[in-house]
């Protein structure tokens, strides 16, 4: 309210002249859009496009550089196997990051659950089926604990999961005595724990059930996130929690559910990891949390929440796998592989920032 508008006599419609004005709101921009703007807009509408393009390009490029050894059905399915565990962790991580959170405890939950499943089934003779069930319940409970602290104590997810990462890791070492459970002992007592390490042949390709599991989990979560009301609420919360609350979403309850689901996915990854590694190793995947975040970020999911497709994380994990395999087969030293992944992360986040700036 300003004084001059108030003193204006009523009836003088100073907006009448607008009738003749250009009604197309800011439409002139269309005439000046360049190629980059079109790309930007296309990517904004379909953020998974970037990782898909990068994945296809990197497969082609490494196929040229490293030759047939890289570009064989066997090697490509091997890459799938190698990323299958980090891929599952990335799926769990995506759920949390979509809500604008972060979960540093994913790998710790997974390793703890694999140790629990293994200890119960191998050392204590619990039937494998029940050992698995207890592991899944434990994964859900671990996630529930994270979610509860994020929503009830109003602590930042980074802090909560930084804490539980350490807590779960310590529990894992306590339970396992930092000792691996040997492959032979698993075979003898609980062979079903290694189910996801088994494979079928498809020509020269060797596809493990673990690789298939990763893909199935990703598509199930994609369905949940995109085709159900619950999934849309997850996006809405990550986008703007306050708005979601005002629009009628019970944000805290949904958040707890998201953390629980992520914990469950970690427990599924735990089962799969026994097959992948062959043994149960309390020392493995120490950096699994960071690797999962790497896959999510390269997959075009925004760390600020609410944007990106969970399938992007699958492609992100595969891109990292393709880079590592390709660089190794090309004879590149380990430290340059680390170097390359570092640049990939920065590149991916820059693209994300650029896409977000799309104009109206």
């Amino acid at each position: 309210m300003s004084e001059e508008t108030v003193s204006r006599p009523k009836g003088q419609d100073f907006e009448a002249s607008l009738e003749r004005s250009d009604k197309r709101v800011a439409s002139f921009e269309h005439n000046h859009r360049g190629v980059m703007d079109h790309i930007q807009k296309a990517l904004h509408g379909n953020p998974t496009l970037v990782p898909v393009i990068v994945l296809v390009l990197s497969v082609v490029i490494f196929g040229v550089i490293a030759g047939g050894k890289f570009f064989s059905a066997f090697n490509l399915t091997l890459i799938m196997q190698q990323v299958s565990i980090i891929g599952l962790l990335a799926a769990a991580q995506s759920l949390i990051i979509l809500t604008a959170g972060i979960d540093l405890s994913v790998a710790a939950i997974m390793v703890l659950m694999s140790v629990i499943m293994g200890n119960l089934a191998v050392s204590y003779g619990v039937p494998t089926f029940f050992a698995l069930l207890i592991g899944f319940a434990g994964g859900g409970a671990a996630g529930f604990l994270n979610g509860l602290m994020v929503t009830r104590l109003k602590l930042p997810p980074f802090i909560v999961t930084l804490g539980t990462w350490n807590i779960f890791y310590a529990l894992n070492l306590w339970l396992s005595g930092a000792q691996s459970i040997r492959s032979q002992d698993i075979d003898a007592n609980a062979a079903a724990l290694k189910f996801f390490g088994e494979a079928f042949k498809l020509g020269s390709a060797r596809v493990t059930y673990g690789s298939l599991l990763m893909i199935v989990v990703f598509f199930a979560l994609w369905f949940l996130l995109n085709k159900t009301a619950w999934g849309r609420h997850v996006y809405a919360i990550g986008d703007d929690k306050e708005a979601a609350e005002l629009a009628g979403i019970r944000t805290d309850r949904t958040l707890v559910q998201v953390y629980m689901l992520a914990g469950l996915v970690c427990a599924i990854a735990a089962w799969s990891s026994v097959g992948r590694i062959g043994s149960i190793s309390p020392q493995a995947f120490y950096e699994g949390n960071l690797q999962s975040i790497t896959a999510v970020v390269i997959g075009g999911i925004s760390l600020f929440g609410g944007r990106g497709s969970i399938l992007g994380a699958l492609f992100g994990a595969l891109i990292v796998g393709v880079f590592q395999s390709g660089l190794k087969l090309a004879g590149v030293d380990v430290l340059w592989q680390v170097f390359a992944v570092g640049w990939l992360i920065i590149l991916a986040v820059s693209i994300d920032q650029w896409i977000r700036k799309v104009s109206a």
Binding site: G177, A178, S180, G197, G278, Q283, D333
Partner: protein
């Protein structure tokens, strides 16, 4: 049983840490104080080392505090531990340095404050940064398994295809010593003995890193098999990496025609010798390193004398033994059955 022993050790460790607050008081009483600083308290190797130190301290009436980094390479935690130790008035420090060079300044500080510093397992660079080093001769450990592999292959050694599964990208001393020792034992020109991967012998298919665990061992083996599927000799930095490599070979049906050799002598590793997963391993003795270290500190506190190195080496050798169920002529070895009686973890 192993587990409960570990837990007891952990509890003892926690109890000693809990007494830290009372540490300055301890210096005033006439009890000798000592500190054990390991790379981590998770690796069974260090758990065993701690057990040895705790037992030795009890036997010698020494007040022992134990510290550990969170992960291998956690220098900050170790620096803080050394500082705490100096402040507590301890007589000596046993340390497995997470970084052979980065810890030198703080160790020098400790020595200037009159403490005896003994490096366990991993030597400093240069080794005389510490007063003494009690360690496995890692190069020798490598040589033993290299010689065993060469003798086992016989004439086929000339056409072997070798995969080297190392620790990580930082190439710390234990990593290159074992790797280069193995190659030397196998009869390969190692060029710079502190550099992994500078060899040009055609028998080497390639190197990859494992982080010393099963997952890394498997992935590294898969990658090297992609480079050359005819690999028939696999060197591994430790036994968990060897177990991972075995799984990778099994998945392509090659587990029976590849020789896997390793270093460590952990109980699951020795069991894997018995099960035919690993062909041979060089056993080291962490418990001995720690208990000898404690004795040295006690001796130093009483007489002011520092321990001497083993002749011809710049450290005190705590010994290494070859464990295999397929002994070869000219190489002393123990069977896995005998090994299980001496293994750690």
């Amino acid at each position: 049983m192993i587990k409960s022993a570990t837990k007891t050790a952990l509890l003892l460790g926690a109890a000693t840490i809990a007494t830290m607050a009372a540490a300055p008081a301890m210096a005033a009483s006439h009890e000798v104080g000592a500190c054990l600083i390991t790379k981590t308290d998770t690796n069974p190797f260090f758990v065993k080392m701690k057990e040895g130190a705790v037992a030795g301290a009890e036997a010698n009436g020494i007040n022992l505090q134990t510290f550990a980094g969170k992960i291998d390479g956690d220098v900050e935690t170790q620096v803080a531990a050394v500082e705490t130790c100096i402040a507590s008035g301890a007589k000596g420090i046993l340390i497995t340095p997470s970084d052979s060079r980065a810890l030198a300044p703080v160790v020098t500080q400790a020595r200037e404050a009159g403490l005896l510093v003994i490096a366990l397992d991993t030597p400093f660079e240069p080794a005389d940064t510490a007063d003494a080093t009690f360690a496995t001769d890692n190069f020798k450990a490598g040589v033993l398994i290299g010689e065993w592999a060469k003798a086992t292959l016989g004439d086929a050694a000339a056409n072997a295809k070798i995969a080297l599964l190392d620790l990580n990208a930082s190439e710390i001393s234990v990593d290159y010593l074992r790797d280069q020792g193995f190659l030397q034992g196998f009869g390969i020109d190692i060029k710079d003995p502190t550099d992994i991967g500078d060899e040009d012998d055609a028998r080497i298919v390639g190197n990859d890193v494992t982080n010393g665990n099963e997952e890394g061992g498997r992935t590294a083996m898969e990658n090297l098999l992609q480079k050359d599927p005819e690999i028939n000799v696999v060197y591994t930095i430790n036994e968990p990496a060897a177990a991972g490599a075995y799984e990778a070979l099994k998945s392509v049906g090659r587990e029976n025609d590849v020789l896997i050799v390793s270093v460590d002598g952990g109980c699951p590793g020795v069991q894997n010798i018995a099960d035919g997963v690993i062909g041979a391993t060089s056993m080291q003795f962490p418990l001995l390193m720690a208990s000898k270290g404690i004795e040295a500190i006690k001796h130093f506190a009483e007489t002011g004398e520092k321990p001497q190195n083993t002749e011809g080496l710049d450290f005190y050798n705590t010994g290494v033994e070859l464990i295999t169920d397929k002994p070869v002529d000219g190489l002393e070895s123990l069977t896995s059955e005998a090994g299980l009686g001496k293994c750690w973890g």
